[in-house]
Protein backbone atom coordinates (compact mmCIF):
# COMPACT_ATOMS: atom_id res chain seq x y z
CA UNK A 1 0.00 0.00 0.00
CA UNK A 2 1.41 3.40 -0.88
CA UNK A 3 2.26 5.65 2.06
CA UNK A 4 -0.34 8.27 1.20
CA UNK A 5 -3.09 5.68 1.18
CA UNK A 6 -1.79 4.23 4.41
CA UNK A 7 -1.85 7.65 6.06
CA UNK A 8 -5.43 8.23 4.91
CA UNK A 9 -6.52 4.91 6.30
CA UNK A 10 -4.80 5.57 9.61
CA UNK A 11 -6.49 8.94 9.81
CA UNK A 12 -9.84 7.33 8.98
CA UNK A 13 -9.43 4.66 11.64
CA UNK A 14 -8.46 7.35 14.15
CA UNK A 15 -11.72 9.18 13.46
CA UNK A 16 -13.65 5.92 13.89
CA UNK A 17 -11.85 5.21 17.15
CA UNK A 18 -12.70 8.69 18.37
CA UNK A 19 -16.37 7.86 17.63
CA UNK A 20 -16.69 10.53 14.97
CA UNK A 21 -19.40 10.02 12.36
CA UNK A 22 -18.27 9.51 8.78
CA UNK A 23 -20.25 11.64 6.34
CA UNK A 24 -20.83 11.11 2.58
CA UNK A 25 -18.20 13.60 1.42
CA UNK A 26 -15.50 12.33 3.78
CA UNK A 27 -12.73 10.14 2.52
CA UNK A 28 -13.33 6.47 3.27
CA UNK A 29 -11.62 3.22 2.28
CA UNK A 30 -13.24 1.47 -0.68
CA UNK A 31 -13.85 -1.61 1.40
CA UNK A 32 -15.73 0.46 4.02
CA UNK A 33 -17.90 1.95 1.29
CA UNK A 34 -18.56 -1.47 -0.23
CA UNK A 35 -19.41 -3.05 3.10
CA UNK A 36 -21.88 -0.29 3.83
CA UNK A 37 -23.49 -0.47 0.41
CA UNK A 38 -23.89 -4.20 0.84
CA UNK A 39 -25.30 -3.90 4.33
CA UNK A 40 -27.59 -0.91 3.76
CA UNK A 41 -28.97 -2.27 0.51
CA UNK A 42 -29.61 -5.66 2.13
CA UNK A 43 -31.40 -3.82 4.84
CA UNK A 44 -33.46 -1.79 2.33
CA UNK A 45 -34.33 -4.91 0.32
CA UNK A 46 -35.37 -6.65 3.55
CA UNK A 47 -37.85 -3.89 4.30
CA UNK A 48 -39.36 -4.14 0.83
CA UNK A 49 -39.43 -7.94 0.58
CA UNK A 50 -40.67 -7.98 4.17
CA UNK A 51 -43.84 -6.28 3.00
CA UNK A 52 -44.86 -9.48 1.21
CA UNK A 53 -45.55 -11.94 4.06
CA UNK A 54 -47.58 -9.25 5.84
CA UNK A 55 -49.27 -8.04 2.67
CA UNK A 56 -50.41 -11.66 2.46
CA UNK A 57 -52.72 -11.03 5.45
CA UNK A 58 -53.75 -7.44 4.97
CA UNK A 59 -56.80 -8.49 2.96
CA UNK A 60 -57.72 -11.05 5.62
CA UNK A 61 -57.16 -9.07 8.80
CA UNK A 62 -59.86 -10.15 11.25
CA UNK A 63 -61.13 -6.69 12.22
CA UNK A 64 -61.09 -3.26 10.64
CA UNK A 65 -58.91 -1.94 13.46
CA UNK A 66 -56.35 -4.68 12.77
CA UNK A 67 -56.55 -4.04 9.05
CA UNK A 68 -55.73 -0.36 9.50
CA UNK A 69 -52.87 -1.13 11.89
CA UNK A 70 -51.37 -3.74 9.58
CA UNK A 71 -51.64 -1.47 6.55
CA UNK A 72 -49.95 1.31 8.47
CA UNK A 73 -47.18 -1.03 9.54
CA UNK A 74 -46.50 -2.22 6.02
CA UNK A 75 -46.53 1.36 4.85
CA UNK A 76 -43.91 2.20 7.48
CA UNK A 77 -41.77 -0.59 6.08
CA UNK A 78 -42.02 0.82 2.57
CA UNK A 79 -40.97 4.15 4.09
CA UNK A 80 -37.99 2.49 5.79
CA UNK A 81 -37.04 1.02 2.42
CA UNK A 82 -37.06 4.53 1.00
CA UNK A 83 -34.87 6.04 3.75
CA UNK A 84 -32.44 3.18 3.42
CA UNK A 85 -32.19 3.35 -0.37
CA UNK A 86 -31.63 7.06 0.21
CA UNK A 87 -28.83 6.32 2.70
CA UNK A 88 -27.24 3.90 0.19
CA UNK A 89 -27.43 6.56 -2.51
CA UNK A 90 -25.22 8.85 -0.42
CA UNK A 91 -22.50 6.27 -1.05
CA UNK A 92 -22.72 6.78 -4.78
CA UNK A 93 -25.03 4.00 -5.96
CA UNK A 94 -28.56 4.53 -7.24
CA UNK A 95 -31.73 2.71 -6.31
CA UNK A 96 -32.25 1.35 -9.82
CA UNK A 97 -28.87 -0.44 -9.71
CA UNK A 98 -29.59 -1.85 -6.27
CA UNK A 99 -32.97 -3.14 -7.45
CA UNK A 100 -31.37 -4.75 -10.50
CA UNK A 101 -29.03 -6.61 -8.16
CA UNK A 102 -31.94 -7.75 -6.02
CA UNK A 103 -33.96 -8.89 -9.01
CA UNK A 104 -31.01 -10.75 -10.50
CA UNK A 105 -30.66 -12.65 -7.23
CA UNK A 106 -27.24 -11.10 -6.62
CA UNK A 107 -28.21 -9.07 -3.55
CA UNK A 108 -29.44 -10.62 -0.34
CA UNK A 109 -32.25 -9.72 1.99
CA UNK A 110 -33.13 -11.11 5.40
CA UNK A 111 -33.86 -14.83 5.07
CA UNK A 112 -36.71 -14.62 7.55
CA UNK A 113 -38.97 -13.36 4.77
CA UNK A 114 -38.48 -16.61 2.91
CA UNK A 115 -40.80 -18.29 5.38
CA UNK A 116 -44.55 -18.32 4.71
CA UNK A 117 -47.16 -16.45 6.75
CA UNK A 118 -49.87 -19.03 7.31
CA UNK A 119 -52.23 -17.69 9.93
CA UNK A 120 -53.38 -14.44 11.45
CA UNK A 121 -51.18 -15.24 14.46
CA UNK A 122 -48.19 -14.88 12.16
CA UNK A 123 -48.90 -11.15 11.99
CA UNK A 124 -48.39 -11.16 15.73
CA UNK A 125 -45.28 -13.34 15.63
CA UNK A 126 -43.69 -11.33 12.85
CA UNK A 127 -44.18 -8.10 14.78
CA UNK A 128 -43.06 -9.53 18.09
CA UNK A 129 -40.18 -11.76 16.99
CA UNK A 130 -39.04 -10.52 13.60
CA UNK A 131 -39.32 -6.83 14.39
CA UNK A 132 -38.07 -7.60 17.87
CA UNK A 133 -34.93 -9.23 16.49
CA UNK A 134 -34.52 -6.44 13.96
CA UNK A 135 -34.68 -3.85 16.74
CA UNK A 136 -31.78 -5.45 18.62
CA UNK A 137 -29.70 -4.97 15.54
CA UNK A 138 -31.07 -1.56 14.65
CA UNK A 139 -30.67 -0.03 18.09
CA UNK A 140 -27.02 -0.93 17.80
CA UNK A 141 -26.94 0.63 14.34
CA UNK A 142 -28.19 4.00 15.60
CA UNK A 143 -24.58 4.30 16.81
CA UNK A 144 -22.99 2.99 13.62
CA UNK A 145 -20.07 4.98 12.26
CA UNK A 146 -21.68 6.08 8.99
CA UNK A 147 -23.78 9.20 9.67
CA UNK A 148 -26.66 8.80 7.16
CA UNK A 149 -27.15 5.16 8.15
CA UNK A 150 -27.15 5.99 11.85
CA UNK A 151 -29.68 8.76 11.34
CA UNK A 152 -31.97 6.57 9.20
CA UNK A 153 -31.86 4.03 12.04
CA UNK A 154 -32.98 6.51 14.66
CA UNK A 155 -36.17 7.15 12.73
CA UNK A 156 -36.69 3.50 11.92
CA UNK A 157 -36.19 2.30 15.49
CA UNK A 158 -39.00 4.45 16.84
CA UNK A 159 -41.46 2.92 14.41
CA UNK A 160 -40.13 -0.61 14.83
CA UNK A 161 -40.63 -0.67 18.56
CA UNK A 162 -44.21 0.39 17.97
CA UNK A 163 -44.59 -2.51 15.52
CA UNK A 164 -43.17 -4.91 18.01
CA UNK A 165 -45.66 -3.90 20.68
CA UNK A 166 -48.45 -4.14 18.15
CA UNK A 167 -47.37 -7.68 17.22
CA UNK A 168 -47.16 -8.71 20.84
CA UNK A 169 -50.60 -7.30 21.47
CA UNK A 170 -52.03 -9.38 18.61
CA UNK A 171 -50.67 -12.51 20.29
CA UNK A 172 -51.79 -11.40 23.72
CA UNK A 173 -55.33 -11.09 22.42
CA UNK A 174 -55.13 -14.59 20.93
CA UNK A 175 -53.66 -16.06 24.09
CA UNK A 176 -56.49 -14.62 26.15
CA UNK A 177 -59.03 -15.89 23.66
CA UNK A 178 -60.33 -19.35 22.90
CA UNK A 179 -58.36 -22.59 22.82
CA UNK A 180 -58.31 -22.44 19.01
CA UNK A 181 -56.78 -18.97 19.12
CA UNK A 182 -54.16 -19.95 21.65
CA UNK A 183 -53.28 -22.94 19.51
CA UNK A 184 -52.92 -20.63 16.54
CA UNK A 185 -50.49 -18.48 18.54
CA UNK A 186 -48.46 -21.47 19.71
CA UNK A 187 -48.23 -22.88 16.20
CA UNK A 188 -47.00 -19.54 14.99
CA UNK A 189 -44.32 -19.32 17.69
CA UNK A 190 -43.22 -22.84 16.81
CA UNK A 191 -42.67 -21.85 13.21
CA UNK A 192 -41.05 -18.43 13.74
CA UNK A 193 -38.84 -18.93 16.79
CA UNK A 194 -35.85 -20.58 15.16
CA UNK A 195 -35.89 -18.50 11.98
CA UNK A 196 -36.01 -15.39 14.21
CA UNK A 197 -32.86 -16.55 16.03
CA UNK A 198 -31.20 -17.09 12.66
CA UNK A 199 -31.82 -13.45 11.77
CA UNK A 200 -28.71 -12.49 13.74
CA UNK A 201 -26.60 -14.39 11.24
CA UNK A 202 -24.00 -17.10 11.64
CA UNK A 203 -22.31 -17.51 14.99
CA UNK A 204 -19.25 -15.36 15.56
CA UNK A 205 -16.77 -18.05 14.63
CA UNK A 206 -18.40 -18.49 11.22
CA UNK A 207 -19.14 -14.85 10.43
CA UNK A 208 -16.87 -13.49 7.73
CA UNK A 209 -17.73 -9.83 8.08
CA UNK A 210 -18.04 -9.33 11.81
CA UNK A 211 -14.43 -8.62 12.74
CA UNK A 212 -13.78 -5.92 10.17
CA UNK A 213 -17.23 -4.39 10.69
CA UNK A 214 -16.56 -4.16 14.42
CA UNK A 215 -13.23 -2.44 13.79
CA UNK A 216 -14.99 0.10 11.59
CA UNK A 217 -17.75 0.40 14.18
CA UNK A 218 -20.33 -0.37 11.55
CA UNK A 219 -21.32 -3.10 13.97
CA UNK A 220 -20.87 -2.65 17.67
CA UNK A 221 -21.96 -6.03 18.91
CA UNK A 222 -21.36 -9.51 17.53
CA UNK A 223 -24.09 -11.74 16.12
CA UNK A 224 -23.96 -14.01 19.14
CA UNK A 225 -24.14 -11.13 21.61
CA UNK A 226 -27.22 -9.74 19.89
CA UNK A 227 -28.84 -13.16 19.66
CA UNK A 228 -28.32 -13.76 23.38
CA UNK A 229 -29.72 -10.32 24.18
CA UNK A 230 -32.79 -11.10 22.09
CA UNK A 231 -33.39 -14.45 23.75
CA UNK A 232 -33.00 -12.98 27.22
CA UNK A 233 -35.52 -10.27 26.44
CA UNK A 234 -38.01 -12.48 24.61
CA UNK A 235 -38.34 -15.63 26.72
CA UNK A 236 -40.07 -13.83 29.64
CA UNK A 237 -42.47 -12.29 27.13
CA UNK A 238 -43.34 -15.78 25.84
CA UNK A 239 -43.89 -16.88 29.44
CA UNK A 240 -46.26 -13.98 30.01
CA UNK A 241 -48.24 -15.06 26.96
CA UNK A 242 -48.38 -18.58 28.34
CA UNK A 243 -46.70 -19.97 25.23
CA UNK A 244 -43.94 -22.54 25.09
CA UNK A 245 -40.71 -21.66 23.30
CA UNK A 246 -39.98 -24.65 21.06
CA UNK A 247 -36.53 -25.36 22.47
CA UNK A 248 -36.21 -28.16 25.06
CA UNK A 249 -32.69 -26.98 25.91
CA UNK A 250 -33.83 -23.49 26.85
CA UNK A 251 -33.01 -22.84 30.51
CA UNK A 252 -32.01 -19.92 32.68
CA UNK A 253 -28.36 -20.12 33.69
CA UNK A 254 -27.67 -18.31 36.97
CA UNK A 255 -23.92 -18.39 36.52
CA UNK A 256 -23.94 -16.84 33.09
CA UNK A 257 -26.90 -14.64 33.96
CA UNK A 258 -28.35 -15.57 30.57
CA UNK A 259 -30.58 -18.20 29.05
CA UNK A 260 -28.86 -21.26 27.65
CA UNK A 261 -30.43 -22.42 24.44
CA UNK A 262 -30.27 -25.27 21.96
CA UNK A 263 -28.17 -25.52 18.84
CA UNK A 264 -29.47 -23.64 15.82
CA UNK A 265 -29.95 -25.75 12.73
CA UNK A 266 -27.20 -24.13 10.67
CA UNK A 267 -27.81 -26.46 7.75
CA UNK A 268 -31.28 -24.96 7.46
CA UNK A 269 -29.87 -21.45 7.81
CA UNK A 270 -27.37 -21.88 4.96
CA UNK A 271 -29.90 -23.69 2.85
CA UNK A 272 -32.32 -20.74 3.01
CA UNK A 273 -29.48 -18.28 2.39
CA UNK A 274 -28.62 -20.30 -0.71
CA UNK A 275 -32.14 -19.84 -2.02
CA UNK A 276 -33.85 -23.04 -0.94
CA UNK A 277 -36.21 -21.65 1.69
CA UNK A 278 -39.93 -22.31 1.33
CA UNK A 279 -40.60 -18.94 -0.32
CA UNK A 280 -37.30 -17.71 -1.82
CA UNK A 281 -38.46 -18.14 -5.39
CA UNK A 282 -41.91 -16.72 -4.75
CA UNK A 283 -40.66 -13.63 -2.94
CA UNK A 284 -38.15 -12.74 -5.62
CA UNK A 285 -40.65 -13.44 -8.37
CA UNK A 286 -43.20 -11.19 -6.68
CA UNK A 287 -40.69 -8.32 -6.59
CA UNK A 288 -39.58 -8.90 -10.18
CA UNK A 289 -43.18 -9.07 -11.34
CA UNK A 290 -44.12 -5.83 -9.57
CA UNK A 291 -41.10 -4.14 -11.10
CA UNK A 292 -41.68 -5.44 -14.62
CA UNK A 293 -45.39 -4.77 -14.57
CA UNK A 294 -44.63 -1.29 -13.32
CA UNK A 295 -42.19 -0.54 -16.14
CA UNK A 296 -44.78 1.09 -18.37
CA UNK A 297 -45.93 3.27 -15.47
CA UNK A 298 -42.41 4.50 -14.75
CA UNK A 299 -41.76 5.11 -18.45
CA UNK A 300 -45.01 7.02 -18.83
CA UNK A 301 -44.29 9.15 -15.77
CA UNK A 302 -40.90 10.05 -17.22
CA UNK A 303 -42.26 10.73 -20.69
CA UNK A 304 -44.94 12.97 -19.23
CA UNK A 305 -42.44 14.88 -17.08
CA UNK A 306 -40.31 15.51 -20.16
CA UNK A 307 -43.28 16.65 -22.23
CA UNK A 308 -44.32 18.99 -19.49
CA UNK A 309 -40.92 20.52 -19.19
CA UNK A 310 -40.71 20.93 -22.95
CA UNK A 311 -44.09 22.66 -23.05
CA UNK A 312 -43.02 24.91 -20.22
CA UNK A 313 -39.88 25.87 -22.09
CA UNK A 314 -41.83 26.55 -25.27
CA UNK A 315 -44.15 28.83 -23.37
CA UNK A 316 -41.20 30.68 -21.88
CA UNK A 317 -39.56 31.22 -25.27
CA UNK A 318 -42.75 32.11 -27.03
CA UNK A 319 -45.30 33.32 -24.55
CA UNK A 320 -47.79 34.49 -27.16
CA UNK A 321 -47.88 31.22 -29.01
CA UNK A 322 -46.12 32.64 -32.08
CA UNK A 323 -44.62 29.23 -32.64
CA UNK A 324 -47.89 28.17 -34.21
CA UNK A 325 -47.50 30.77 -36.92
CA UNK A 326 -44.04 29.54 -37.70
CA UNK A 327 -45.21 26.11 -38.39
Amino acid sequence: MDPKQKALEAQFQARIDADEKIEPKDWMPDAYRKTLIRQISQHAHSEVVGMLPEGNWVTRAPSLRRKVALLAKIQDEAGHGLYLYGAAETLGIDRETLLEELHAGAAKYSSIFNYPSLSWADMGAIGWLVDGAAIMNQVMLTRTSYGPYARAMVRICKEESFHQRQGYEILLTLCRGTEAQKQMAQDSLNRWWWPALMMFGPSDGASTHTEQSMRWRIKRKTNDELRQQFIDATVPQADYLGLTVPDPALKWNDERDHYDFGEIDWAEFWNVVKGNGPCNRERLQARVKAHEQGAWVREAAMAYAEKRQQRQEERNINPRGLKNLAG
Partner: protein
Protein backbone atom coordinates in the same frame (compact mmCIF):
# COMPACT_ATOMS: atom_id res chain seq x y z
CA UNK B 1 -86.62 7.27 7.67
CA UNK B 2 -84.33 5.44 10.13
CA UNK B 3 -84.06 2.52 7.72
CA UNK B 4 -83.22 4.86 4.85
CA UNK B 5 -80.57 6.64 6.89
CA UNK B 6 -79.06 3.30 7.90
CA UNK B 7 -78.99 2.23 4.25
CA UNK B 8 -77.45 5.53 3.27
CA UNK B 9 -74.66 5.21 5.84
CA UNK B 10 -74.01 1.66 4.65
CA UNK B 11 -73.58 2.98 1.14
CA UNK B 12 -71.03 5.53 2.26
CA UNK B 13 -69.27 3.07 4.53
CA UNK B 14 -69.28 0.17 2.07
CA UNK B 15 -67.90 2.32 -0.75
CA UNK B 16 -65.00 3.32 1.48
CA UNK B 17 -64.43 -0.20 2.78
CA UNK B 18 -64.58 -2.01 -0.54
CA UNK B 19 -62.38 0.47 -2.38
CA UNK B 20 -59.95 0.60 0.55
CA UNK B 21 -59.80 -3.17 0.51
CA UNK B 22 -59.14 -3.25 -3.23
CA UNK B 23 -56.29 -0.78 -2.84
CA UNK B 24 -54.85 -2.79 0.03
CA UNK B 25 -54.48 -5.69 -2.41
CA UNK B 26 -51.69 -3.67 -4.04
CA UNK B 27 -49.74 -3.47 -0.82
CA UNK B 28 -46.20 -4.65 -1.56
CA UNK B 29 -46.81 -4.99 -5.30
CA UNK B 30 -46.98 -1.38 -6.53
CA UNK B 31 -45.19 -0.22 -9.68
CA UNK B 32 -42.94 2.18 -7.75
CA UNK B 33 -42.23 2.13 -4.03
CA UNK B 34 -43.52 5.69 -3.68
CA UNK B 35 -46.82 4.70 -5.32
CA UNK B 36 -47.07 1.65 -3.10
CA UNK B 37 -46.95 4.06 -0.19
CA UNK B 38 -49.41 6.47 -1.77
CA UNK B 39 -51.96 3.75 -2.51
CA UNK B 40 -51.61 2.36 0.99
CA UNK B 41 -52.21 5.87 2.27
CA UNK B 42 -55.47 6.11 0.39
CA UNK B 43 -56.45 2.62 1.52
CA UNK B 44 -55.78 3.66 5.11
CA UNK B 45 -57.93 6.77 4.76
CA UNK B 46 -60.74 4.80 3.22
CA UNK B 47 -60.78 1.95 5.71
CA UNK B 48 -60.61 4.60 8.44
CA UNK B 49 -63.63 6.38 6.97
CA UNK B 50 -65.41 3.04 6.65
CA UNK B 51 -64.91 2.43 10.36
CA UNK B 52 -66.49 5.75 11.37
CA UNK B 53 -69.37 5.30 8.95
CA UNK B 54 -70.15 1.69 9.79
CA UNK B 55 -69.90 2.41 13.49
CA UNK B 56 -72.42 5.19 13.02
CA UNK B 57 -74.61 2.98 10.83
CA UNK B 58 -74.69 0.44 13.65
CA UNK B 59 -75.77 3.13 16.10
CA UNK B 60 -78.48 4.41 13.81
CA UNK B 61 -79.79 0.90 13.24
CA UNK B 62 -79.91 0.44 17.00
CA UNK B 63 -79.70 -3.34 17.20
CA UNK B 64 -76.19 -3.45 18.61
CA UNK B 65 -74.21 -4.24 15.48
CA UNK B 66 -70.61 -2.99 15.51
CA UNK B 67 -68.43 -1.86 12.60
CA UNK B 68 -66.94 -5.35 12.48
CA UNK B 69 -70.32 -7.10 12.59
CA UNK B 70 -71.33 -5.02 9.61
CA UNK B 71 -68.08 -5.46 7.69
CA UNK B 72 -67.49 -9.12 8.41
CA UNK B 73 -70.89 -10.71 8.73
CA UNK B 74 -72.94 -9.38 5.84
CA UNK B 75 -73.02 -11.35 2.63
CA UNK B 76 -73.06 -9.92 -0.91
CA UNK B 77 -76.75 -9.05 -0.84
CA UNK B 78 -76.28 -6.97 2.30
CA UNK B 79 -73.56 -4.77 0.86
CA UNK B 80 -74.51 -1.35 -0.47
CA UNK B 81 -71.42 -0.14 -2.31
CA UNK B 82 -71.58 0.97 -5.92
CA UNK B 83 -70.45 -1.51 -8.58
CA UNK B 84 -67.50 0.65 -9.58
CA UNK B 85 -65.53 0.16 -6.37
CA UNK B 86 -65.82 -3.62 -6.33
CA UNK B 87 -64.29 -4.02 -9.78
CA UNK B 88 -60.95 -5.83 -9.67
CA UNK B 89 -57.67 -3.91 -9.64
CA UNK B 90 -56.58 -5.04 -13.09
CA UNK B 91 -53.42 -3.20 -14.12
CA UNK B 92 -52.36 0.12 -12.62
CA UNK B 93 -54.35 1.89 -15.36
CA UNK B 94 -57.57 0.22 -14.21
CA UNK B 95 -56.82 0.95 -10.57
CA UNK B 96 -56.13 4.63 -11.22
CA UNK B 97 -59.12 5.05 -13.51
CA UNK B 98 -61.46 3.38 -11.03
CA UNK B 99 -60.03 5.60 -8.31
CA UNK B 100 -60.44 8.78 -10.31
CA UNK B 101 -63.97 8.01 -11.49
CA UNK B 102 -64.93 7.38 -7.89
CA UNK B 103 -62.93 10.21 -6.26
CA UNK B 104 -64.45 12.84 -8.55
CA UNK B 105 -67.90 11.79 -7.39
CA UNK B 106 -66.89 11.29 -3.80
CA UNK B 107 -65.32 14.72 -3.61
CA UNK B 108 -68.52 16.55 -4.56
CA UNK B 109 -70.57 14.20 -2.43
CA UNK B 110 -68.54 14.94 0.69
CA UNK B 111 -68.33 18.65 -0.10
CA UNK B 112 -72.11 18.58 0.12
CA UNK B 113 -72.20 16.30 3.18
CA UNK B 114 -70.23 18.88 5.11
CA UNK B 115 -73.51 20.80 5.19
CA UNK B 116 -75.66 17.82 6.14
CA UNK B 117 -78.36 18.43 8.70
CA UNK B 118 -77.06 15.42 10.63
CA UNK B 119 -74.39 16.59 13.02
CA UNK B 120 -72.44 13.37 13.33
CA UNK B 121 -72.31 12.79 9.58
CA UNK B 122 -71.23 16.40 9.18
CA UNK B 123 -68.32 15.80 11.55
CA UNK B 124 -67.25 12.63 9.71
CA UNK B 125 -67.45 14.51 6.40
CA UNK B 126 -65.44 17.41 7.70
CA UNK B 127 -62.61 15.06 8.53
CA UNK B 128 -62.98 12.97 5.38
CA UNK B 129 -63.07 15.82 2.89
CA UNK B 130 -59.43 16.67 3.55
CA UNK B 131 -58.45 13.11 2.72
CA UNK B 132 -60.74 12.88 -0.28
CA UNK B 133 -59.41 16.15 -1.69
CA UNK B 134 -55.97 14.57 -1.66
CA UNK B 135 -57.28 11.35 -3.24
CA UNK B 136 -58.84 13.27 -6.09
CA UNK B 137 -55.69 15.27 -6.66
CA UNK B 138 -53.61 12.11 -6.68
CA UNK B 139 -55.84 10.16 -9.06
CA UNK B 140 -56.35 13.18 -11.36
CA UNK B 141 -52.61 13.69 -11.66
CA UNK B 142 -52.08 10.05 -12.55
CA UNK B 143 -54.93 10.12 -15.07
CA UNK B 144 -53.17 12.96 -16.84
CA UNK B 145 -49.68 11.56 -16.49
CA UNK B 146 -50.59 8.14 -17.83
CA UNK B 147 -53.13 9.34 -20.40
CA UNK B 148 -50.63 11.79 -21.83
CA UNK B 149 -47.53 9.68 -21.14
CA UNK B 150 -46.41 7.10 -23.68
CA UNK B 151 -48.36 5.37 -26.45
CA UNK B 152 -48.64 2.27 -24.29
CA UNK B 153 -49.83 4.09 -21.20
CA UNK B 154 -52.36 6.01 -23.28
CA UNK B 155 -53.78 2.81 -24.71
CA UNK B 156 -53.96 1.15 -21.32
CA UNK B 157 -55.75 4.14 -19.84
CA UNK B 158 -58.22 4.32 -22.68
CA UNK B 159 -58.93 0.60 -22.31
CA UNK B 160 -59.50 1.02 -18.58
CA UNK B 161 -61.80 3.96 -19.14
CA UNK B 162 -63.78 2.00 -21.73
CA UNK B 163 -64.10 -0.93 -19.32
CA UNK B 164 -65.16 1.10 -16.30
CA UNK B 165 -67.30 3.80 -17.83
CA UNK B 166 -70.51 1.79 -17.57
CA UNK B 167 -70.23 1.87 -13.79
CA UNK B 168 -70.22 5.67 -13.54
CA UNK B 169 -73.96 6.13 -14.05
CA UNK B 170 -74.80 4.47 -10.76
CA UNK B 171 -72.79 7.03 -8.80
CA UNK B 172 -75.36 9.77 -9.38
CA UNK B 173 -78.40 7.59 -10.00
CA UNK B 174 -81.26 8.79 -7.80
CA UNK B 175 -82.86 6.03 -5.74
CA UNK B 176 -85.58 6.17 -3.14
CA UNK B 177 -83.03 6.33 -0.33
CA UNK B 178 -81.38 9.33 -1.99
CA UNK B 179 -84.71 11.11 -2.23
CA UNK B 180 -85.50 10.51 1.42
CA UNK B 181 -82.05 11.74 2.42
CA UNK B 182 -82.38 14.84 0.28
CA UNK B 183 -85.80 15.64 1.72
CA UNK B 184 -84.45 15.22 5.24
CA UNK B 185 -81.56 17.56 4.48
CA UNK B 186 -79.09 14.80 5.26
CA UNK B 187 -77.82 13.86 1.80
CA UNK B 188 -77.06 15.94 -1.29
CA UNK B 189 -79.10 16.28 -4.45
CA UNK B 190 -77.48 13.91 -6.90
CA UNK B 191 -78.68 15.88 -9.93
CA UNK B 192 -76.51 18.83 -9.05
CA UNK B 193 -73.61 16.53 -8.19
CA UNK B 194 -73.96 14.91 -11.59
CA UNK B 195 -73.41 18.30 -13.24
CA UNK B 196 -70.25 18.96 -11.22
CA UNK B 197 -69.05 15.40 -11.75
CA UNK B 198 -69.48 15.47 -15.52
CA UNK B 199 -67.65 18.76 -15.72
CA UNK B 200 -64.72 17.59 -13.62
CA UNK B 201 -64.40 14.26 -15.42
CA UNK B 202 -64.54 15.88 -18.87
CA UNK B 203 -61.87 18.40 -17.92
CA UNK B 204 -59.45 15.79 -16.60
CA UNK B 205 -60.06 13.39 -19.48
CA UNK B 206 -59.40 16.20 -21.95
CA UNK B 207 -56.15 17.06 -20.25
CA UNK B 208 -55.25 13.38 -20.19
CA UNK B 209 -55.97 13.24 -23.98
CA UNK B 210 -58.47 10.43 -23.34
CA UNK B 211 -61.74 9.91 -25.22
CA UNK B 212 -64.81 9.99 -23.04
CA UNK B 213 -66.86 6.91 -23.96
CA UNK B 214 -70.32 7.66 -25.32
CA UNK B 215 -73.54 5.75 -25.54
CA UNK B 216 -72.53 3.11 -23.03
CA UNK B 217 -75.31 1.33 -21.14
CA UNK B 218 -75.01 2.23 -17.47
CA UNK B 219 -74.99 -0.70 -15.05
CA UNK B 220 -76.53 -0.38 -11.64
CA UNK B 221 -77.66 -2.48 -8.69
CA UNK B 222 -74.75 -2.11 -6.27
CA UNK B 223 -75.96 0.62 -3.99
CA UNK B 224 -79.47 -0.80 -3.77
CA UNK B 225 -78.00 -4.26 -3.21
CA UNK B 226 -80.20 -5.67 -5.98
CA UNK B 227 -77.38 -7.01 -8.11
CA UNK B 228 -73.67 -6.83 -7.37
CA UNK B 229 -71.04 -8.18 -9.72
CA UNK B 230 -69.50 -11.62 -9.17
CA UNK B 231 -66.34 -9.95 -7.92
CA UNK B 232 -67.78 -8.83 -4.59
CA UNK B 233 -68.31 -12.37 -3.31
CA UNK B 234 -64.64 -13.20 -3.77
CA UNK B 235 -63.59 -9.99 -2.12
CA UNK B 236 -65.79 -10.76 0.89
CA UNK B 237 -64.58 -14.37 1.05
CA UNK B 238 -61.11 -13.00 1.62
CA UNK B 239 -62.07 -10.05 3.80
CA UNK B 240 -64.26 -12.17 6.07
CA UNK B 241 -62.27 -15.40 6.15
CA UNK B 242 -61.04 -15.31 9.75
CA UNK B 243 -64.32 -14.17 11.25
CA UNK B 244 -66.22 -16.81 9.31
CA UNK B 245 -63.78 -19.63 10.11
CA UNK B 246 -63.59 -18.74 13.82
CA UNK B 247 -66.97 -17.23 14.64
CA UNK B 248 -67.63 -15.07 17.66
CA UNK B 249 -64.05 -14.45 18.80
CA UNK B 250 -62.15 -11.33 19.74
CA UNK B 251 -59.19 -10.43 17.58
Amino acid sequence: MKQAFFEYLLRLGDNALVLGHRLSEWCGHGPILEQDIAMTNIALDQVGQARSLLQYAGQVEGSGRTEDNLAYLRDVGGYRNVLLVEQPNGDFAHTITRQFLFDAFNYFQYEALRHSRDEHLRAISEKSIKEITYHLRYSSEWMIRLGDGTEESHQRMQAALDDLWMYTGELTEVTEVDEIMLDAGIGPGLHSIKGLYDEKVSAILAEATLQQPTGAWMQSGGKTGKMHSEHLGHLLAELQFVQRAYPGMEW
